[in-house]
Amino acid sequence: MRPKLPKSILPRRRYVLFRVEADSPLTLPELRGSLREALLSLFGSAGGSTLSVSLKLYNPKLGVGVLRTDSESLPAAITSLLFALRAVRPGSKLFILKVSGTIRRALAPIRYGNSK
């Protein structure tokens, strides 16, 4: 049986809703590959193993995506995303639209057009 850690000592899960503004649209495999490379080059294998960062959703048409991470890895996740974008599209811009504990609430700004 898998041992369970109490919730209180686990870092909180965070979902980051972001938007990419680039001249040409960025594809999902491009972004996923570049994010992995950025994590490895910035934090290395050992540092990267302590981080929890994954690309949950990405819509190339809208340029909107959701990154799943935790409260401790949040700065590293945003930094890696920025470096990943700059590596594939040097003139691109990153906007963090919302950071939330659930994916449902993170997606609220694009579902309902506001952050509530």
Binding site: L42, P75, A76, S92, L94, F95
Partner: protein, 212 residues
Amino acid sequence: MKRYVDLKLRPSSESELPSMIEEARRAGFSAVGVVSPSSDLPEFRGIDLVPVAEVEGLRRPRGRYAYVSAVPRDLSEARSLSKARWVDALVLPAPRKTILLDSPTARFLNMRRSLVEIRLSDLLSVPPAQLSESLRILRLELSVARKYGVPLVLTSGASSPVDVMQPIVLASLASSLLGIPWHSAVASLSDIPAMVLSGELRLSKRGVLREA
């Protein structure tokens, strides 16, 4: 609600200024400092513009600026600048291979109530092969600044609209790459630059305000 201030936008041309200001407003800054040869800046809705100066070497800028920062070229210049009363902040640029902030410099900065500034867009332009060396030097200098109680101010140092970033992105860069605690990174983008703009820093430099 926090009021975020980016103390340094360095437009490469005058025509780029409106788009950079618009980007800064969209990013959530309520005030920005603009490095401009003239202290007369146009007015924009929803964001305050403040004239700031950035000098290289020991030249003192002419004119009235809300914030004057100096970029030293070597350690001896950094020491001279740390003693100068007209310097509000010492810029620690990247990339580089030599240290610009040692204990005596930090002690003088603390005595003069001056700040240390890091332009975060510098980190994005560092070639990947030089990034680890630049980060090692900056981390070392920040630990010296922390030891001597020299406050840190974070700026974007943007020279084009692409380099203007949201406060959360700037704080993430500082926290993950430079090891600055999250709350300190946020304070370096809000409370400390706000103190500069309110004139509190200059008053404390003149000895009018003393720490409690």
